[in-house]
């Protein structure tokens, strides 16, 4: 029998409890225990960024994080950001620039872009490229994604 542990954390602004396998990773917990499947499994080893979430205000790969390590912390997933009007500019810029094709990388890309724009409110294309080095996209060739993130920032800056 695998060892279980009860944890309590904040998920997208709501207090949650879960009983998780001690060796389980956070991505598996989100998808299989909680049932939030917006966060994607691409590689399971930190290479692709499809599983990117935010924990205590920074972005990280949920596949590289033990689920028990969520205890007492604050998690935001794509489902949380989707309901947050602060992310409207980013979402609209992705649509406008055609930065989504198959969409598999998009949740991770948006979570990382949101973190990046928080940290670098004046990010230019170079800064955005560095910021998304850990996110792979097999479809778009990145240019549209970079354009969208830069534009989202311009949009936010000029917004009233």
């Amino acid at each position: 029998m695998s060892l279980k542990h009860d944890i309590e954390f904040t998920l997208n602004g709501v207090k949650r409890q879960a009983s998780v396998d001690v060796t389980m990773n956070t991505l598996a917990m989100l998808r299989d225990v909680i049932g939030l499947t917006g966060t994607k499994y691409g590689c399971g080893e930190g290479e692709c960024g499809a599983c990117t979430i935010q924990v205590d205000g920074v972005s990280l790969n949920s596949c590289l994080m033990f689920a028990v390590d969520c205890d007492g912390r604050e998690l935001t997933t794509i489902e949380g950001l989707a309901n947050d009007s602060k992310a409207d500019a980013l979402r609209e810029a992705f649509v406008e620039h055609g930065a989504v094709q198959c969409g598999f990388c998009t949740p991770g890309m948006i979570m990382q872009a949101d973190h990046l724009l928080h940290k670098h409110p004046h990010a230019d294309a170079e800064c955005v490229k560095r910021g998304i080095e850990g996110n792979l996209c097999r479809c778009t060739g990145y240019k549209k994604i970079v354009d969208a993130i830069v534009a989202a920032e311009d949009g936010q800056r000029t917004a009233p």
Partner: protein
């Protein structure tokens, strides 16, 4: 062989070292090595999994006298953005800049990078150049006991260190570099992000009027551990950096290392790269 029986998240250093007494404990920090390694079955989690995240004494970056103390839990991102590190230890910032991706830098801790003891660990080369010491805590009797050792003697082999099973790495201490200190790091990989070094090279010392003293030369991914290159250091010590000495030292460095062939590169290629990049870096130092 025991199976995983307990999960423990201590909130004080005393609790943590007390728990380590039985020696059958796997320590969890950021988890960026431990998660993939345990899931792929490359390592087995011991009887207790101990998460050290909630121990306040293990975080923070501070100036203590003439030393910079970096807590084991400091993340790569925290290190590269910290004003003390940026001011006094730019070579460490340089190495952190080439480390994995933003997401991994946000999670990965310095102590995890050191204790994982990969010959290609990116922070290890700059820490060797900077004469860093590692501090370890344990509880042999009823009281907390701390001791420290130079990082240069800490590594034993891939994934192996002199840390005993009852010890916890608490922090790294780095003496403030003196005036005229120069240090550079170069990582060679096949793509800029998320790459394990094919080789990495660090060169440091005190430069006065073109003469280099207190020389440190260190290489990553050319031996079972990160290594200092004693013969290259000796050949450089007290020398004026002219073209002849730079050529000589580059050749010594190439002959001194004994890398292996692996999926990332052949031994021959690594030796040639050690030669060429050592020469390039020394030329760069001489021109600065």
């Amino acid at each position: 062989m025991t199976e995983l029986k307990h999960y423990f998240a201590p909130t004080s250093l005393d609790q943590a070292v007390e728990c380590l007494k039985d020696g059958d404990v796997t320590i969890l920090a950021g988890g960026t090595d431990l998660t993939p390694q345990s899931q792929a079955g490359r390592i087995r989690i011991k009887r207790t999994l101990m998460n050290i995240r909630h121990i306040p004494q293990l975080s923070g970056i501070t100036l203590e006298g003439r030393e910079i103390r970096i807590g084991t839990l400091a993340t790569i991102t925290e290190i590269m953005e910290h004003p003390l590190v940026r001011q006094h230890l730019p070579v460490l910032v340089e190495a952190c800049n080439h480390f994995a991706s933003d997401q991994i830098r946000n999670a990965a801790t310095l102590g995890g990078n050191i204790c994982n003891a990969s010959p290609a660990g990116d922070t290890l080369i700059p820490l060797l150049l900077l004469d860093a010491r590692v501090e370890l805590a344990s509880m042999p009797e009823a009281k907390l006991y701390r001791h420290s050792m130079p990082l240069a003697t800490f590594f034993v082999g891939p994934g192996k260190t002199r840390r005993s099973l009852c010890e916890l790495l608490t922090c790294v201490r780095i003496p403030l570099p003196g005036e005229g200190h120069v240090a550079h790091f170069h990582k060679l990989g096949t793509r800029p992000a998320l790459d394990i070094s094919t080789i990495s090279i660090g060169i440091g010392g005190t430069l006065r009027e073109g003469v280099l003293t207190n020389v440190r030369v260190a290489f990553g991914a050319v031996a079972p551990t990160p290594v200092r290159a004693a013969r290259a250091e000796q050949a450089l010590e007290g020398q004026k950096l002219d073209a002849a000495i730079i050529d000589r030292v580059a050749a010594i460095a190439r002959d001194e290392v004994e890398p292996i062939d692996d999926v990332r590169a052949t031994a021959w290629y690594r030796k040639e790269m050690i030669h060429n990049i050592t020469r390039r870096m020394l030329t760069h130092v001489a021109q600065a």
